[in-house]
Amino acid sequence: MAASFAAFATRRGEVTAWLDASGAFDPESMAAAGVDLRRMLWASMKTASASRIARAALAVGPHARHQSAIVKAAELVLEAGGFGLVVVDFGEAPRALTYASSLRIARAAERSGAAVIAIAPWRMCGTFAALSLVASRAETSFSRLAPGSPVMFDGLAVDAMVARNKMGGTGRRVRVRALVDPIAVPADVHPQLDRKESPAPISASS
């Protein structure tokens, strides 16, 4: 979903940033998802905890330093201004941000007019997030074109639930299909995916 937002933003000509805490950014699949990589500033924070700046920070311990470095990087990008979207991928097992860090990022995002997406296994920004989506894998689709033909992985169906929205609508759900080849794969290849539900589409503006 974050890749979809980034693709939407870059198609509009906005400059975006992807802060990659765990080195999980895959440019090939991002480009396939429609992200204009020329408009995406990528920064890997994988080794940031060892950097001099992070060590100079007050945080003690590598995890805290790593987290501080991510927050610092997000603030730097937001301070520059002109970025339409900043995606912060916190990786697999991050610590929740402190109130002070969340507040700083929220204020910086407000000042620069940028949208900030935090990707993490759990809520990171607490009450400072304008919108919190909980995405859970609903279905996994494998299929064969014909009996005896090879099994192919078609994609996933993900349920996204609005856990918190300052504009209202908490509790709404939408099913998003993330497919390996959303154009070429015919509709009847995914019989198990329910195409009738989820009338509310997800777009970057939401």
């Binding site: 890749a3 979809s4 198609r11 509009r12 000509g13 906005e14 400059v15 080195g23 999980a24 950014f25 895959d26 440019p27 699949s29 998802a33 990589l37 020329r38 408009r39 995406m40 500033l41 990528w42 920064a43 890997s44 924070m45 080794t47 940031a48 950097s51 001099r52 700046i53 992070a54 470095a69 610092k72 990087a73 730097l76 990008v77 520059a80 201004g81 002109g82 970025f83 697999e92 995405a135 894998r137 996994t140 494998f142 033909s149 090879p150 099994v151 192919m152 992985f153 996933l156 939408v174 099913r175 998003v176 299909r177 993330a178 497919l179 390996v180 959303p182 989820s198 589409p201 997800i202």
Partner: protein, 573 residues
């Protein structure tokens, strides 16, 4: 009529020392030929001059006047840097600048009246620029270089209007000129004093031919100078290709932290010089002079040009931490290759973009935070290795015109969360089909499987021919394998999804049988694993699978057929 300005810094050697070490500012300072008590002073600071200390006194005599006197050596490095800074400062006002003696420069004012309202304003701007680089100048404006120099030597700011040169020269004492010696070797100062000459106006009234008869060529030149008749043209200097600051330290520095403290001040001065010229800092060259007459050179690549001193210093520190100097540093020279700031034209109807200078500064700071190789525009490398990536400098192109928004869909392209480097896992197989996966934070039964999709390539790099001809010949014997591979090294078939999992058996029969012994280059499995991750030259051959595990996750894994190990390549979420 030409108008020339002269900018001069009085007591330049003292001013250069104070500029490189601001702690000297306001001190009773003098430069001695040596530090011995009988050594004479070469130059003294304004404060010392106020107290009555003069050049030519011995250090002992000067100390008798003021016990606070600090005597130090002349610093050629500081003087060189200060002179370059002076030229940069005045070049930010006019492009035609001729360097003079250290601490002196001439500037052609032709054409500047279009920018400035008058010569006073130009002179004030010149003085302001020189003050920005840490020196207090005097300025003179006149019709030629010599007159402008004489006007600057009078101190302060002095503009000699056209036609009033004789009026200015008449009252000037003769010792404002460096008189030198006549052709016969006589001291001209003594000779002219014997003639009763005290001022330039008196010299100007003499007949040049008669003076030439008595004093030779130098005498004629002096009369011409005294009449304000020189018309030597300005010879402009070439544009600087790099900006440099040098410092000679009194004591060697062994630790990086105090070294950074010294370099910060140097970088601040360089950033000021660059910003005055409308430039930003590019790549940096460090040259350290170390104890034992050793030297240390280091190139520091700057990911994004910026004048942000903190970011540049962090990059330098990162570089030095990786490989610090081996001995105490006694002199520092920092050279910066200037770059022109990228101009940008914003559009009212397009989304806003970061300002180029702010973007460059941000990238430089991010590079300092994350490491220089971790910031930029990441894209897939044109390589046969799936994990190959390419990092370029981030320079977003102008925004395209916005078309109508495509309606939002709830179908998107699946994006993988890559795991780099691929994490080794353990896969239990039954008849070559994965059944159970175990690894770091992973352990579940396989419930669905797609694949294998074979990817191989780079076998043509052929490191085996030299390393192990025997195994290479064994590979050549497996001709069907070569015949089936796509020669561009990409996946089998037109699309990876067209390769059947049921064809696994057939593929296995065509592929060289995996052997527990070293495969291609005779290297151990550990070395081949290193090669698998991109460092090796012996090619790769992998079978990729998409596995849905019982824990609900969907993973992309591959089996490296060189090392017979399994790796977790990414997750789908």
């Amino acid at each position: 009529m030409a108008r020339i300005a002269c900018i001069m810094v009085a007591d330049f050697s003292i001013a250069a020392l104070v500029r490189s070490n601001p702690a000297f500012a306001g001190m009773v300072l003098a430069i001695g030929k040596s530090l011995a008590p009988h050594a004479e002073l070469d130059a003294v600071s304004p404060r010392a001059r106020e107290l009555g200390i003069r050049p030519g006194m011995t250090i002992a005599q000067a100390r008798a006047i003021s016990s606070e006197l600090v005597v130090t050596h002349r610093s050629p490095a500081a003087e060189s840097s200060a002179h370059a800074a002076l030229l940069d400062a005045v070049e930010s006002v006019s492009p035609v600048v001729e360097p003079g003696a250290p601490g002196c420069a001439w500037i052609d004012l032709a054409g500047l009246h279009r920018i400035y309202s008058g010569e006073e304003e130009i002179t004030a701007e010149l003085v302001r620029c020189v003050r920005r680089v840490g020196m207090e100048p005097a300025a003179g404006v006149a019709a030629n270089k010599e007159l402008a120099h004489l006007a600057a030597r009078c101190g302060g700011v002095r503009v000699i209007e056209a036609g009033r040169e004789r009026e200015f020269l008449n009252w000037l004492p003769l010792d404002m000129l460096s008189l030198g010696k006549s052709d016969r070797g006589d001291d001209l100062e003594t000779t002219l004093a014997r003639w009763g000459m005290r001022r330039l106006g008196e010299l100007a009234r003499l007949n040049p031919d008669a003076v030439g008869t008595r004093l030779g060529r130098r005498g004629v030149e002096l009369v011409r100078l005294a009449r304000g008749g020189s018309h030597a043209p300005i010879v402009p200097r070439r544009r600087a290709e790099f900006f440099a600051e040098s410092v000679e330290l009194e004591y060697g520095i062994e630790l990086l932290e105090p070294l950074g403290f010294v370099m910060r001040a140097m970088l601040e001065r360089l950033a000021e010089r660059l910003s005055m010229r409308g430039l930003v800092a590019g790549d940096i060259t460090l040259a350290f002079g170390m104890s034992g007459h050793r030297s240390f050179n280091r190139q520091v690549a700057v990911a994004a040009s910026s004048n942000d001193v903190r970011a540049i210093l962090t990059l330098i520190n990162l570089s030095l931490e990786g490989e610090p100097p081996e001995a105490a540093v006694e002199s520092i020279r920092i050279e910066i290759a200037p770059r022109v700031q990228r101009p940008a034209q914003t559009d009212m109807f397009l989304p806003p973009a970061p300002a180029p200078d702010k973007l460059q500064t941000t990238i430089a700071r991010l590079a300092a935070l994350c490491g220089p190789g971790n910031v930029g525009m990441l894209s897939a490398e044109n390589s046969h290795r799936p994990e190959a990536m390419r990092l370029d400098a981030f320079a977003p192109p102008p925004a395209p015109p916005i078309h109508e928004n495509t309606p939002a869909k709830n179908v998107t392209q699946l994006v993988i969360r890559a795991i780099r480097p691929a994490r080794e896992i353990e896969v239990m197989c039954s008849r070559e089909i994965p059944e159970f996966v175990r690894g770091e934070n992973l352990g579940a039964r396989v419930i669905s499987i797609a694949g294998p999709w074979r990817r191989d390539g780079e076998w043509w790099l052929g490191c085996t021919a030299e390393a192990n001809p025997h195994t290479e010949s064994a590979d050549r014997n497996s001709a069907p394998h070569r015949g089936l591979e796509l020669h561009d090294g990409r996946m089998f078939g037109a699309h990876p999804r067209q390769v059947s999992a049921e064809n696994l058996k057939a593929l296995s029969s065509l592929t060289p049988a995996p052997s527990p012994v070293p495969h291609r280059n005779g290297a151990s499995s550990h070395n081949e694993h290193t090669g698998m991750n991109g460092a090796g030259k012996c090619g790769f051959i992998r079978d990729y699978y998409e596995l849905a595990l019982e824990d609900g996750g969907v993973y992309r894994v591959f089996r490296d057929l060189n090392s017979h190990k399994w790796f977790l390549d990414g997750t789908y979420d």
